[in-house]
Symmetry: C2
Subunit: 213 residues, 2 copies
DNA sequence: ATCAATAATTGCACACAGTGCATTTTTGCA
DNA sequence: TGCAAAAATGCACTGTGTGCAATTATTGAT
């Protein structure tokens, strides 16, 4: 009988995850210290103790490492996990919760998440990359949003195409709300835990729909 | 008395605008023909009959030329022009109109606009650049949206910070709606003039707010 | 412990984007 | 025509990102 290799990820995968985290940490701390342009892939690799070539085996781009961009498979996993969770009060809360689940670093390392908020404020150019991640995995996420909308019984009359569009717009709205909520809550140097972000995001979305309706 | 050099743009500026347009056209047609990755700045410059170095005197990036990204001053101009226009029915229509005014190519060249819609569908990565343009000029645009929201009397109770957030979310919502409207209307190979896009965008926003409210 | 298969790491060469700087050409105007 | 400003260009350089082949580490089985 072998050791339970199926339960634990195995040495190989553990090392891989560790290396990945080391690169992310190096990237974040260097950009935080020296700025975005000043930080090179070479420097990140050196600090993370890997070769520059290995860096690109783990991430598609410099920004990818800085933001800890996850690939399609990882998002898929998190979406599935989310859908298994207990239901929320309404569609808005559910979509916001979904986004927070996706953006949150696995393992829930609070420090790096807070640092990344800081980075996004100091270097707004990074938001384009974050947005790109969203467009790449947009299919999955928007689809999930559509499922959520259906689940909460909104827009029964809409046809399929409209539902897709509505899901996309809802996603954009909630995504922006989350980003803004993170931004303002990061400025106040309160703890800014996930729950607070959630509450503020939902409030912002409601305020918006209430205002322009 | 000199010739009215203040009224007409003058030969120099006319030539500059023409060169700019030539580069944009070259970029769009090459990407349309060969794809995004296959099209190099070198090739674009050659077709536009300028040196690669000159290319970067006109645009900050390859994507900039492909999308015809305008700089802050140009956006400022278009925003001012928009604000002088007659009022719209409500805030949503006004914001959508603002976005269309900004995205529309000056001179209203229908062909290149249609081509760009095609490009955005074929190469979704480009949306990140479009988004980046939006974040760079985001200050101005979001501010204008805030003005619009005030003008149409929404959210009287909101404090300044909330108004900014609400404006940002409204902008994201309308921007996505416009993008989706362009996308679907480009698929149907109808004419897809600006008015149709306007109508469809507004309808999508209303459907969304109505659904999740 | 040993060994073969497999996966990860690395080095190297390369293509391309983008920038700074000095030089040449073009344009506007007197 | 001739002069000053603006535009175009050539050149050298940094940095990102990729393909490929060689090297090293990990795994599972004997």
């Amino acid at each position: 009988m072998t050791t339970p290799t199926l339960r634990t990820p195995g040495l190989r995968d553990r090392k891989r995850a560790e290396t990945r985290a080391r690169i992310e940490d190096a990237a974040v701390s260097l950009v935080l210290r020296d700025g975005l342009e000043q930080t090179t892939v070479h420097a990140i690799s050196e600090l993370a103790d890997v070769s520059p070539r290995t860096f690109f085996n783990y991430f598609d781009s410099k920004d990818g490492a800085i933001l800890g961009i996850r690939n399609t498979a990882m998002v898929e996993e998190q979406v599935a996990e989310f859908l298994a969770q207990p239901p929320h009060r309404d569609a808005i809360e559910a979509v916001v919760a979904l986004l927070l689940a996706i953006f949150d670093a696995p393992g829930g390392r609070l420090t790096i998440r807070k640092d990344r908020m800081e980075l996004l404020q100091r270097h707004p150019e990074l938001m384009a990359s974050q947005f790109e991640q969203l467009t790449l995995t947009h299919g999955q996420i928007a689809e999930t949003v559509a499922v959520i909308l259906k689940r909460y019984g909104v827009s029964q009359s809409a046809d399929a195409e409209d539902l897709t569009s509505i899901a996309g717009i809802t996603l954009a709205m909630c995504g922006t709300a989350v980003r803004l909520a993170m931004s303002t809550l990061a400025q106040d140097h309160t703890h800014a835990d996930t729950e607070q972000i959630q509450i503020r995001s939902v409030a912002l979305v409601r305020a918006t729909t209430g205002s322009i309706a």
